[in-house]
């Protein structure tokens, strides 16, 4: 009995019954599900962008016909002198032969060009200019840039990340609005009790904190449920996206820290929204 009394003492406004808990939990859960998908999308796009960026940096090659040591040395020196080039490394002829074996078979006597792989310091660098300079130094050298489409994909992934952040912001704003509506309903339902507490000397901070604790708890619980519901869908997306990112499908691919922070963030948004709503309402009183 004493414990029941203490519980009631912590809820003198009767908010456990006044604030529509199922509706609020359900709405926050739905928004947390969307937020979890957006977070996972942002994380996945981030990893793909990273991988594609690395790919783009290695996607410029220079072919040097008649790859004598002198021509190869001059070509590499010319490339390394360019500020747009972070590194220029010759591809080992044995590795080249191995790469071409499926198409050319064991044609040992076939003349192959020397190949130099470039890592660009600046992905926006004009590869045509690089090609002109190395061709001027080593006649016949040909530059092939495969990085343009990769750079476009990289830009696309950045756009996806931005979109995911915008979705997260929108979800947070809608969650704050939903909590605000629920709190206003709670204030209407408990208007008399709030006025009694106000008359007994409760401060605005005290009344607002009681509503905010309740709203934060409900939002946190809802977000936890929504995040849990999102996990199967996220696992499916990881399985689909894993090969694109060059990874095996795994639960480890999920942004666990971000997902774990979702209920905390939902509770924080609810707390702030409730504090603002209740304090604004109380300001009408003397």
């Amino acid at each position: 009995m004493a414990e029941a009394k203490r519980r009631l003492a912590r809820d003198p406004l009767g908010l456990r019954r006044a604030m529509a808990d199922r509706l609020l939990i359900g709405l926050v859960a739905a928004m947390a599900l969307l937020a979890a998908l957006a977070l996972a999308g942002r994380s996945g796009a981030d990893r793909l962008a990273e991988r594609w960026r690395a790919g783009a940096q290695a996607a410029v090659t220079v072919q040097v016909p008649q790859p004598t040591p002198d021509r190869m040395t001059r070509a590499i020196a010319a490339l390394r002198a360019l500020p747009e080039v972070a590194d220029a490394e010759p591809v080992d002829p044995a590795r080249m032969a191995e790469l071409l074996r499926p198409w050319l078979g064991g044609a040992e006597g076939l003349p192959l060009p020397g190949v130099i792989e470039l890592r660009l310091a600046d992905l926006t660098a004009d590869t045509a200019l690089i090609g002109d300079r190395v061709a001027a130094e080593v006649p016949g050298a040909v530059t092939e840039a495969h990085g343009v489409w990769v750079a476009h994909l990289s830009a696309l992934s950045r756009a996806v990340q931005g979109l995911a952040l915008a979705v997260l912001g929108l979800v947070a704003a809608v969650a704050a609005a939903v909590v605000g509506v629920a709190v206003r309903a709670g204030l209407s339902a408990r208007r008399d009790a709030v006025l009694v507490l106000h008359g007994l000397g409760a401060t605005d901070a005290d009344v607002a904190a009681r509503f905010a604790r309740r709203a934060a708890w409900l939002a946190g619980a809802g977000a936890m449920g929504g995040t849990a519901l999102a996990l199967p869908a996220l696992a499916g997306l990881v399985a689909l996206a894993g090969p694109l990112a060059g990874e095996a499908a795994s639960w480890q691919g999920l942004p666990w820290l971000d997902l774990a922070l979702l209920p905390v963030m939902a509770a924080a948004v609810a707390w702030v929204s409730t504090q603002a709503t209740v304090r604004r309402w109380l300001r009408r009183l003397p």
């Binding site: 009995m1 009394k5 009694v196 000397g201 409760a202």
Partner: protein
């Protein structure tokens, strides 16, 4: 203790503009430890005077000074501590229906962050004083009108307020319960609390002779 200086009060209309004055040019002073009746017919302005004394309103003109704090100049954050020093008994009780009798009485102490062990002793003493021992766990609607009124008084005095303000505290009670309520208010006054009681009853002041302020149309028409 309580000082009204040329006080006028107007409630705002629906558009937020000041309506007609319900109190006009009201001036009086109530000393510490005094007992005062506020008399007058319905609509005379008794409840408005009491609401000013509860720091539930600020005067439109003039000044109301409560326990040394001028209401018109007080900052918003100064009012809650002031209200905690004023006990209020409402005509319509205003008990919290979802709390037990015990928790209703304990509420002001919990708002003041008093230790639970102190609350236990104080509330038990008060419930015994008002004759509600054994009914601690009952909800207000499970108590009679007289018991609810005594519960309201217990809630109003549990913090040992310097000022106790009661608005028609006996209007809903039978004669026996009314006498008992008046006895409780008198006892609080005997212990040093300044008590102000508004009533439209002519009988009640006769049972406890004290200063009487009579209002009519928002003006003070008699003081004696």
């Amino acid at each position: 203790m309580v000082r009204f200086s040329r006080v006028a009060l107007a409630y705002p209309d629906q558009r937020g503009r000041p309506g007609p004055d319900v109190l006009r040019d009201l001036s009086f002073t109530l000393g510490e430890g005094s007992f005062t009746w506020i008399l007058g017919p319905s609509g005379a302005g008794k409840t408005s005077v009491l609401r000013l004394m509860q720091a539930a309103l600020r005067p439109s003109q003039g000044e109301v000074e409560l326990l040394g704090i001028p209401l018109s100049r007080a900052r918003r954050r100064d009012l809650p501590p002031l209200r905690r020093r004023i006990g209020t008994v409402h005509q319509e009780f205003r008990l919290l229906s979802h709390l037990s009798a015990w928790d209703n009485v304990a509420l002001p102490l919990r708002l003041a962050a008093i230790a639970e062990s102190t609350i236990r002793a104080d509330v038990a003493d008060l419930l015994d004083w008002i004759g509600l021992t054994g009914k601690e766990e009952r909800r207000p609607e499970e108590l009679s009108g007289g018991e609810q009124q005594r519960l309201v008084i217990a809630r109003a005095v549990v913090t040992r307020p310097a000022l106790l303000v009661a608005d028609e505290p006996t209007s809903e009670l039978d004669a026996r319960q009314a006498r008992r309520t008046l006895a409780l208010l008198s006892e609080m006054n005997r212990q040093g609390t300044t008590v102000v009681v508004a009533t439209h009853s002519d009988d009640l002041p006769g049972r406890h002779p004290a200063r009487m302020l009579t209002l009519e149309g928002g003006r003070l028409v008699a003081d004696g």
